[in-house]
Symmetry: C2
DNA sequence: CAAAAATCAGATAAAAGATTCTTAATACGC
DNA sequence: GCGTATTAAGAATCTTTTATCTGATTTTTG
């Protein structure tokens, strides 16, 4: 898997929050329930978002988490970086420290192209885009879960 | 990391064997020593290559492993597939089973492009190419290891 | 003060990575 | 031929990381 499970959950949660952002703070237990994720696990993961300034949280009744910025100012790259770090965007395919044009590994040239394309695309794809797609029918948000903004 | 550590070791070993292929079977302990990898760990990893028909092995004195096919008929894709499987080439970024054009996840379109590019490039990059690069000065094969075909 | 919510601390489970020991096959010297 | 050294294969254990779960604590509303 290209990204960790924590990161997958975090991305799904961020999309959910973005889609619900009109309603102020979204409680984590609601997110966890809708996405079939363990509540406490999601709690820990989302703290990385608050620590990195992508989300804000509020305790107590009517509390929860919310985006700290407009959804079109948060990219997939931001989300991945906050949870898994930047390794995936910069690392050598063979994990060699210092691999670069000066001292390339045998896969360097090819891998750099893929890595670069991934970086660019993930910087272009915003949370707003993803939330919009998730709100459409037949676009899946989580395992077995289709997102509908107007839910009973 | 995009591929497992086992896979990294396996790729490095395959490149080493390809570069030494003139000398018949290459003993695994020599490979492990030259690449700073645990011998027994490498043994287990390379068995996946023999099981999948990419390498052949021979026991006893003057034994070791060797490529089962010419190095230009083995691609990076083959190597990765033999160790880590095909998931990386086919999996959804969010790990959703069945994600595709019919039922895409919010990242599907973008991710498919990266995945496809990676697949294509890894199918084009052959072991012969990589071994040739590894034999050049300043091209690194493993951590702190530069490959030289004519070694003392 | 009570209920709702995030936060914090810790234990448990599962997977990946790495090590150690034993066994089986083979060539080569005698 | 026979025994020994060499080499891959196999089994079992240990460590580390990742993933998951459980319980207690703090903040905040009403």
């Amino acid at each position: 898997m290209i990204i960790s499970k924590s990161c997958i959950y975090a991305i799904q949660a961020a999309i959910y929050v973005a889609a619900e952002s009109k309603q102020g703070y979204v409680p984590i237990n609601i997110i966890a329930e809708r996405l079939n994720i363990s509540f406490h696990f999601l709690t820990k993961v989302l703290q990385d978002f608050t620590h990195s300034g992508l989300m804000i949280s509020y305790r107590g009744p009517r509390g929860g988490v919310a985006l700290a910025k407009p959804a079109d100012e948060i990219t997939l790259h931001d989300l991945v970086e906050a949870i898994d770090g930047t390794d995936i965007f910069t690392e050598c395919m063979l994990g060699l420290p210092g691999c670069g044009t000066a001292e390339p590994c045998p896969t360097h040239e090819h891998w750099v192209e893929v890595r670069q394309r991934f970086t660019t695309l993930s910087q272009q794809l915003t949370l707003k885009d993803m939330a919009a797609k998730a709100s459409l029918m037949h676009v899946r948000l989580a395992n077995g879960v289709k997102h509908h903004t107007q839910m009973a």
